[in-house]
């Protein structure tokens, strides 16, 4: 409960602590008025009314000082808090002198809770507990008899001090975490903005190398090809980066997943809006598309072009994968199945049927091959 950690906390958690202490200032004025009114109604019965008025003056003065002092974070240090608790303890201790031995109520009355709660706000549950115990001991020490009522008050004060301290710490920590998260998000957004600028520059150069390379002879041709591959990979990453966090947990954005397949030979067309599917459905569908693409590489050629199109129909998602190859002669698919090369049919059709969808292949010699994979929307998991 030393001053240093309190100062560090008060600097990092200014807004929450400020709010709590501002509320405390209002509370202080209300309970002060309460104590003053009660005293004004009774002072004539007491043995030393003048001393009592002096105590009341002290409370009024201290209220003004503390409301001012608690307003600024740099003043919320040990001297202020110790002074606050000191005033509470002192005014309780003076009560028997004003009212005579064994008073039923202390002079400050509820005012003492201000000190306890302020300790709780600034020094957390340990502070609240300590201040409550200190006030309680003083209170008990001036009593001649210990009533049920006294016990109840003390019990509430001690519990209240600790609980308010705990909650105040929780609030301040939560606020600190929120601040940290906001800072992290701002930093991430700035990084993303910067990387987009950088990426755009890199993409431009890669695209330029790709275009100009072939004019420089065979080596240039190779350079251009390499630049082209990197260009489309980076483009995919950039587009993916601008879409992150679209899909909730347990779901995936198919637009993003398919976008990653883009290469100089794989052309991907999708809607501009995300296509959010349950994660399992999305990855099964993606695996089926990859199987189609690997099929294109095997049967048409490594450098064969393929086109992937994602469409969102009212009742289903449709992914088409097309190539411009020689096409599969009628019956070839069935042949390959009977020859034991189950790759194509099993893996693609099987996956789609498992998803409650369907896979159809259209092909004719000389017209390429086109797979149409469709998955119903709103499939209940």
């Amino acid at each position: 409960m030393s001053g240093e950690p309190a100062v560090r906390r008060s600097l990092t958690h200014v807004p929450v602590q400020d709010l709590l202490l501002r509320a405390m200032a209002v509370l202080r004025v209300i309970v002060l008025a309460n104590s003053l009114v009660l005293y004004a109604m009774r002072f004539e019965d007491y043995p030393r009314p003048l001393l009592g008025w002096a105590v009341m003056a002290l409370l009024v003065g201290w209220t003004l000082v503390s409301v001012w002092a608690y307003a600024a974070p740099e003043r919320r240090r040990a001297p202020l808090l110790v002074g606050d608790l000191g005033v509470a303890v002192l005014t309780i201790a003076l009560t028997p002198l004003v009212k005579g031995a064994g008073p039923s109520a202390t002079l400050p009355g509820f005012y003492v809770m201000c000190a306890v709660l302020s300790w709780a706000v600034v020094w957390r549950w340990q502070g609240g507990l300590f201040a409550a115990v200190a006030v309680s001991i003083t209170d008990v020490s001036i009593r001649l008899e210990f009533t049920q009522q006294n016990y109840g008050n003390i019990f509430l004060l001690v519990i209240g001090g600790a609980v308010i301290g705990f909650l105040s710490a929780l609030l301040q920590d939560t606020a600190a975490q929120r601040d940290a998260a906001e800072r992290a998000a701002a930093a991430a957004a700035e990084r993303q903005r910067l990387s987009r600028v950088v990426h755009d520059g890199v993409l431009q150069v890669l695209a330029l190398v790709q275009r100009r390379g072939p004019e420089l002879g065979p080596d240039g041709m190779e350079l251009g090809r390499l630049a082209g591959e990197q260009e489309s990979r980076l483009r995919g990453l950039v587009q993916q980066g601008s879409r992150e966090l679209v899909a909730p947990l347990g779901e995936r954005d198919l637009v993003e997943l398919l976008g990653e397949l883009e290469s100089p030979h794989v052309h991907v067309a999708t809607p501009a809006t995300p296509a959010v599917l349950p994660a399992e459905t999305a990855s099964e569908l993606l695996a089926a598309v990859e199987a189609c693409l690997s099929n294109v590489r095997h049967h048409v050629g490594r450098d064969a072009d393929a086109w992937v199109l994602l469409e969102e129909l009212p009742d289903r998602w449709v992914v088409s994968v097309r190539d411009d190859g020689p096409g599969i002669p009628a019956g070839r698919l069935d042949d390959s199945a009977s020859e034991g090369r189950l790759g194509v049919q099993q893996s693609i059709v099987g996956r789609l049927v498992d998803l409650g969808g369907s896979a159809q292949v259209r092909s004719a010699p000389g017209q390429g091959t086109e797979w149409e994979l469709s998955v119903p929307r709103h499939t209940s998991p």
């Binding site: 755009d200 150069v205 695209a207 483009r235 999708t270 969102e312």
Partner: protein
């Protein structure tokens, strides 16, 4: 087809290497580069005097961006053709540019021959689509038809005819206009018309939306005509 006719072209790109490269390609092909600009402000201030037939435009340029420039130049001169060249292919930007009036889109890695062909074709009033753009446009029509029309909306949500949808799907699947014409047993020109219509309806819808927005905001005094 006006093969070989000299075109007045303006090139807007913030990357000097690109700007000069594209300008040189165009000049070597016999076109006149009437202006170049490095950002949106320059583009808009040089456009009225330069009066290009074709604007070759990068979308990622300093403010105002390519989408805003497209909208403004098409408003000033509805006969200008805007060909969008984009490096990163930020999909929503491309779609917005097309809705604002661009009639062609190419990724920057397209070859020089592809670029020259695209400039020639947009100048002829044709639309230059990539499969990626066709996918975006298809998605946009589906999105518009999903949104329930406001009851007081007097303009129809744009819709594609079955044939247009069919043609656009084939474009998105990478078929050339020639292949599409063969497959659907229609003429090359008919394919082009269908594709053009898909963009025209979208652009018209976009303009109507903009005008309605302006009227609602009480900005109609600034609208010419």
């Amino acid at each position: 087809m006006s093969e070989g006719e000299q075109l007045r072209v303006m090139v807007v790109d913030d990357h000097p290497m690109w700007r000069e490269g594209v300008a040189r390609d165009l000049q070597e092909a016999g076109h006149r580069v009437v202006a170049t600009a490095a950002d949106g402000k320059e583009a808009l201030s040089r456009f009225p005097a330069a009066r290009p037939q074709v604007l070759v435009l990068d979308l990622q340029i300093p403010e105002p961006d390519g989408v805003a420039v497209t909208g403004e130049v098409v408003r000033q001169d509805p006969s200008v053709r805007v060909l969008v060249l984009s490096a990163s292919g930020e999909q929503s930007d491309v779609l917005e540019a097309v809705k604002a009036g661009a009639t062609g889109y190419l990724v920057k890695s397209a070859s020089r021959a592809e670029l020259l062909d695209a400039v020639r074709r947009v100048a002829d009033g044709d639309t230059v689509f990539t499969p990626g753009l066709a996918g975006l446009v298809l998605g946009e029509y589906r999105r518009l038809s999903d949104v329930p029309a406001a009851p007081e909306a007097d303009t129809e949500t744009p819709r594609l005819t079955d044939r247009e949808t069919e043609v656009l799907r084939l474009v998105a699947k990478g078929l050339s206009y020639k292949q599409i014409a063969e497959r659907l047993v229609i003429s090359h020109r008919t394919v082009q018309n269908h594709v053009q219509n898909t963009l025209r309806k979208l652009q018209l819808h976009n303009r109507v939306q903009l005008v309605r927005y302006a009227l609602e905001q009480g900005l109609d005094d600034d609208q010419p005509g």
